[in-house]
Symmetry: C3
Subunit: 308 residues, 3 copies
């Protein structure tokens, strides 16, 4: 009976879907985006380490690991974001790469989110360039053709949470000292609409509403319960478990997995693409306000005192 | 490690969002809406009691309590709805008010929903005026600039459930005699699309579909499980817990919380605003039908017999 | 107190919704669709058995049972799909019928989904006709005026899962040998957008994303946890429980239940209606590819070997 049913599963399966042309336009154009960012064609290197992210590709498995190593907290500076997008796009252009595991080399922190110093005391041109880089990171990661697993081996607030949510699967170290969430409102700021879209897609409308308004940082246990992460394992087992999960995802034929991913995520991607310039304008005019700049100064002074 | 991660949370936070202009147009125009409803400018009174709702504002905490006291069941009559909207808008125009707790003075009932007598044997002009008041209540409450907590100390069917869902947070008395839900179909009627939108936003598409078709009334335990309420406490602890929860919401800077709320709720609000007149027309033509009027007569006769 | 609240539930209920004209156009036009499919007017027969589906209508309860009996695995061939749509539409045109229970006469299998032989080595005209029949089945079932309960007494992969999800309620036999899910990607194919819409409506965005990419087949226990089915009962109790559940759904006045269902499901239906021709074109051009035809040949050879 079970065998019959299993056979049935493949015999009388049917159905497929050929998405409308242009579905993976972004993926196909990633080469040109690399050129846009760097001014030079991307290199098909199989192994490369830059200053802030270590990239290792295992050609046997097709799995690359991107290990963030930008002390003290993997903050998302302009330079970091640019390196991140270029590294990921290089992997996407490498036919040997089918999956990417994203993790951190720093103890206790996955990524602390956007770098506040990029938003304080700079020119409008700088804010524009910075925000474009933030958008580019998300556009590249959220709709990547490769399978992506976040191995969250530390805290992951704000932009760090966004990176994790943009992967296909999230494994978090089961350590009550760690937390994850979009905590922007706690700092007096507001997540942009595409952060909101991403968290709604992950935990649903109601949980997202409460989470965003309160700027809630979830413990690993709470994050699992609400669906912000997919599973918890002891910290030392995160890398192994990430590799196991990735193998499950790569057991699926790439083109079918990619089209299914696009079917789910492209509408969300398209919302930002349709309003990308307005989103930049909003950021720049908001961040340029005197009141916001004063708030940022205070936050940075506090942080200096903590360090001192 | 934890300290570092915590510091990271504020150091490298980043991101914000400046919503497109007009985002809070409704909030900003509430003053004029009060004038529209009352024919006179709103008063900045800090404490006022009208016939059906007691409003108390604690200027130390910034928290107002709106206590519904319209026996026997806080039914939403035209007069009640008008008083509700005006009271809430007065609070919104009062800079000292940052949060509103909505509760009932009547034992065992939060609100029983729309008043059936307003929909039976009246003129089309009356039905139009009544339905506008129902819409106005929801438009005001669902997108209010203040933080809103429903202290649900009794049953809350139909329109009462809508009021509770339109708050930011729901605490229900853990009493198995109480129930909550959109039970319209049990009475042969249908919730309008914006009731549907509100429950989908609260409990998700599948649970809403089942709930609406069956007109399901949930016990407190079931309501918690499906996400229709956020937590249960013993009845006598509802007021204290509401105050505690409100303090959590008010710990967030108002402007960041408000913009996040709008980001989540404005698209739903805009759907009614875009179809407000058609929604009124639909209600009036439906309620004016002979078959519906006969049904309403029967329901009212039953209720009279129960009382007698 | 409870009595008062209960009384309140019916006294002060209020609200209804008269959907915009044309809301049930599809339902009203089902008669003509039967004619379109068969070339003759539908018959108001109260009991009929065709070759592949046994239809029994209990005129006392208003409940019909459609029992699929198309060995070996109730695969959805063109002939089966046509008979299914016609049978369901006959029931819809029969005023005595208020609910339909969908189940299988074959041990261990509900339905194995689309028949692969319809998609291999045929003409474009045949693929077009076949895909229209697949669409018609879903359009008819997903928005049916009658209450629909899936009595899932066996495995239900791919198109079988779609049929189950398109009912109003799902009861599955609690047998760990059975599985259910949209496993298309495991076969190298992709569910079309309206399969995707249907599963998102059933289990939410995040679970659907993971489910579709991995082509996940859920055990009954897992299916219950993720919300893909509504309850599990021992296999022998599935028919009885289906009858009990149907009675709950039929306790609601038909017109109110139908309008509520349409309020929830019509937007999803309309998406396919708006892109129906493009969806057919996509299917035909995809299935006609040499690479896909070769894959299908291999799958069929494997199946022949299993049988042999």
């Amino acid at each position: 009976m079970a065998a019959q049913a299993a056979a049935a599963g493949s015999r009388a399966w049917g159905r497929h879907f050929l998405p409308s042309s242009g579905l993976f336009t972004r993926l196909q154009s990633s080469q040109s985006r690399v050129q846009r960012l760097t001014g030079r064609p991307s290199v098909q290197s199989r192994l490369f380490s830059n200053s802030k992210i270590l990239v290792e590709l295992d050609e046997n498995t097709g799995v690359a690991t991107m290990t963030m190593k930008h002390p003290p907290v993997n903050s998302l500076s302009l330079e970091f974001l640019t390196e991140f997008s270029i590294s990921l796009e290089k992997l996407e252009n490498d036919k040997a790469c089918r999956g990417v595991i994203l993790t951190s080399a720093l103890p206790g922190i996955f990524s602390a989110g956007l770098d506040i110093t990029e938003m304080s005391g700079k020119s409008e041109a700088h804010y524009t360039e910075f925000w474009k880089a933030v958008q580019e990171m998300w556009l590249t990661l959220y709709h990547s053709r490769v399978a992506t697993v976040a191995a969250i081996n530390g805290s992951s607030p704000a932009g760090g949470c966004l990176m994790a949510m943009s992967c296909d699967y999230r494994i978090m170290a089961d350590n009550p000292k760690f937390s994850i969430g979009l905590n922007e409102t706690q700092l007096g700021i507001v997540a942009p609409f595409w952060f909101k879209d991403t968290i709604v897609n992950t935990i649903g409308h109601r949980a997202a509403e409460r989470s965003l308004q309160l700027g809630f940082l979830y413990s690993p246990t709470e994050a699992l319960r609400v669906g912000l992460v997919d599973e918890l394992v002891p910290g030392e087992k995160v890398p192994l478990r990430a590799a196991e999960v990735m193998a499950q995802w790569l057991a699926i034929p790439d083109h079918a997995r990619q089209l299914s991913k696009s079917l789910m995520r492209k509408p969300t991607l398209d919302r930002l693409l349709a309003h990308r310039e307005a989103d930049i304008q909003n950021f720049v005019s908001f961040i340029s306000r005197d009141s916001i700049q004063k708030s940022l100064q205070k936050v940075m002074e506090k942080l200096k005192q903590r360090k001192g």
